[in-house]
């Protein structure tokens, strides 16, 4: 009985996993095929040639795009970690009038879709002359209501006595934040860091708006460009590009999966 139940459960899981994984697997497989094989509807390449990979680097400046994406994602990640943790610290450890009200106002911005604020943001960036630069790609994302919320929930589990003890010892507020709060909340910070890096890595619309030169574009735009250029001719090259772009995402997920899970559920349980 238990065995039958288990078998049926795993069957369902395996089917779901196949459905989920098939596009990625197929993209990976196409990246090794030449044009004829793709058109022939083959599932697996007849030989493992890396020609497509070499070609994709020649067709578009993929290395520049990768670098751009990496740098902007890293800057946004650091910026979000700093701003969110400082804001969360204020919401937990500093007493001021209307603190909770301000916090809820802060949180309520999560209900406004990012696309709705895109036009004013774009105009601001444009008038500041930040288009085609890292500034325009990163600074609008520094303040993150979700990140503040996540860290606030974790900071709330840190006993107030730690703060009081450091006040008695004469530790400054910032030093307490830096030397106590940040190390103690390491797992939540890693979670938020991975989350913000991936979100920014996968961002498409905003980089499309604020960049129009090859030197400033990010990989997601590069992929689209590849597709437009190469459509109908060589899917193998496009898929080789896709595989290169999702690799960092996968690596980061594998490395940080445990922390990510732990951090996302931590605030909810405690």
């Amino acid at each position: 009985m238990i065995l039958a139940k288990r078998i049926s459960l795993y069957t369902v899981l395996v089917i779901c996993a196949i459905i989920m994984m098939f596009p990625i697997f197929y993209a990976f497989s196409i990246s090794f095929m030449d044009g004829g094989e793709v058109m022939g509807g083959q599932l697996l390449p007849s030989s493992l040639s890396l020609d497509n990979y070499l070609e994709v680097f020649q067709k578009v400046p993929l290395l520049t795009y990768l670098l751009n994406s990496f740098v902007t994602s890293a800057i946004v990640m650091i910026g979000q970690l700093l701003v969110s943790s400082l804001a969360a610290f204020a919401f937990v450890f500093m007493k001021f009038k209307g603190r909770d009200f301000v916090f809820f106002l802060f949180i309520s911005t999560m209900m406004i879709p990012w696309e709705a604020t895109m036009v004013p943001n774009f105009m601001t960036i444009q008038s500041l002359g930040w288009t085609n630069s890292y500034l325009g790609l990163t600074i609008p994302f520094f303040a993150l209501a979700f990140g503040t919320f996540l860290l606030r929930q974790h900071f709330k589990t840190i006993p107030q006595e730690l703060y009081e003890a450091s006040q008695v010892a004469g530790i400054s507020r910032f030093r307490f934040f830096w030397n106590v709060i940040l190390p103690v909340s390491r797992s939540s910070l890693i979670t938020l860091g991975i989350y913000s890096f991936l979100t920014n890595w996968n961002m498409y619309l905003w980089p499309l708006l604020v960049t129009n030169t090859e030197s400033a574009r990010t990989v997601q735009i590069g992929l689209k460009q590849l597709q437009t250029q190469e459509i109908a001719s060589d899917w193998g090259i496009v898929m080789a590009g896709v595989v290169i772009v999702i690799l960092p995402t996968l690596l980061l997920l594998f490395a940080g999966q445990k922390k990510l899970q732990k951090g996302l559920t931590q605030g909810a349980i405690k």
Binding site: E164, A165, A169, G170, V180
Partner: protein, 374 residues
């Protein structure tokens, strides 16, 4: 020399109701002072006001004669031990002990020397590299204590530091804290809800109830001369028997079959007031039948080995009395035994406001009992 002085200290959170009502107190240099009271009586609030973690609503706080109402905690030259120890979980024992010393401009070598000295004193020398989570409750408690010691602050505040330890360890730490305090000569303000801790550790103590100071004085004086029924029943375990009585100028009637001579007969005015009689369990004695004040019915006995607690009733089954006798006494429930009240140890309290009217030892509340606030 006066070290800490509270003058008319008040605290209110909403601006209307005072949670701390007018506390006046003077602490001498090197004194071990205990704030004791049931939970919610405001003792921790007073401590936090002295530490500067809670703003003072009204009244004044002086440390070494200097007004300190608005000084930040680190300018008050004190150390503090918290109930949950407040150890930094990511630092090891040594880092925890020396945390914050750099703000006092103490060199690294001096920090290390002080840390080793304190660790030696508290038996932590082998654990300096460990993280707090790898320590037992008692060891964590010692780390918190060591952190207070290394600052060499002349004033140390402790907020129920022993309440998370088991009974055996608590007894040991009690005496250790007391010895260290004496050795270093620091002034200590110690908050607890445990009257045993207060009795055994304090040079002087203050009993608090609902934000009001009930009595300030030396533990034994408070035990022997409680200022009111609250103090009488709070200090001492088991508590003092406090029962209502019918009083006439010549007699106190505890029950239809038990009357005692009224000791206040000299004082006619007080003698006819409504009173409550208070007598400690150790002052109710086993008696020869012909000298007995009453024959009572046993409802429970607890034999503790060196002593026996006997719960009994006179006539009214609702009023249960407790007597404490040395030795091992075996009574069955329902046994009737003759007892005698030690009239030299009897207290009479006003029934209206609970204040002491008359205490037997010397006929009048003595000097120390008059130190009493209310």
């Amino acid at each position: 020399m006066t070290h800490v002085e509270l003058a008319g200290l008040k605290k209110s959170y909403d601006g209307k109701k005072n949670v701390i009502e007018q506390v006046d107190l003077q602490l001498q240099q090197g004194e071990f002072f205990v704030l004791v009271g049931p939970s919610g009586c405001g003792k921790s609030t007073i401590l936090r006001m002295i530490a500067g973690l809670e703003p003072i609503t009204d009244g004044e706080l002086f440390v070494n004669g200097k007004r300190m109402n608005d000084a930040p905690p680190n300018k008050r030259d004190l150390s503090m031990v918290f109930q949950n120890y407040a150890l930094y979980p990511h630092l090891n024992v040594e880092q925890n002990i020396t945390f914050g010393l750099h703000t006092k401009k103490i060199s690294r070598e001096e920090q290390r020397r002080r840390c080793l000295e304190a660790a030696e004193m508290l038996g932590l020398a082998d654990y300096l590299r460990r993280k707090p989570r790898e320590l037992s409750g008692g060891q964590r408690q010692r780390v918190a204590l060591a952190r207070a010691i290394v600052t060499q602050a002349p004033l140390c505040l402790m907020d129920e530091p022993l309440s998370n330890l088991d009974a055996k360890l608590r007894t040991r730490m009690r005496s250790e804290i007391r010895q260290i305090q004496r050795k270093l000569g620091i002034t200590m303000i110690y908050v607890t809800h445990d009257q045993t801790e207060a009795m055994t550790m304090a040079d002087r103590m203050m009993i608090l109830h609902e934000g009001e100071a009930m009595q300030i004085g030396k533990p034994l004086n408070i035990y022997n001369h409680p200022a009111n029924t609250f103090v009488a029943s709070f200090i001492g375990s088991p508590a003092m028997n406090v029962m209502e009585a019918d009083v006439s100028p010549s007699e106190i009637g505890l029950s239809p079959h038990c009357t005692l001579p009224n000791p206040m007969k000299g004082n006619v005015k007080a003698a006819s007031k409504n009173v409550q009689v208070g007598i400690r369990p150790e002052h109710i004695l086993f008696s020869a039948p012909e000298q007995a004040d009453a024959v009572v019915e046993v409802v429970n006995t607890e034999v503790l080995g060196t002593e026996t607690l006997i719960t009994f009733i006179l006539d009214n089954a609702k009023d249960q009395w407790i007597a404490r006798w040395n030795g091992q006494w075996q009574f069955s429930v329902g046994d009737r035994i003759p007892i005698r009240f030690d009239l030299d140890a009897i207290h009479l309290f006003s029934k209206d406001n609970g204040r002491i009217l008359w205490a037997a030892n010397d006929g009048q509340p003595n000097q120390t009992a008059r130190e009493v606030l209310r």
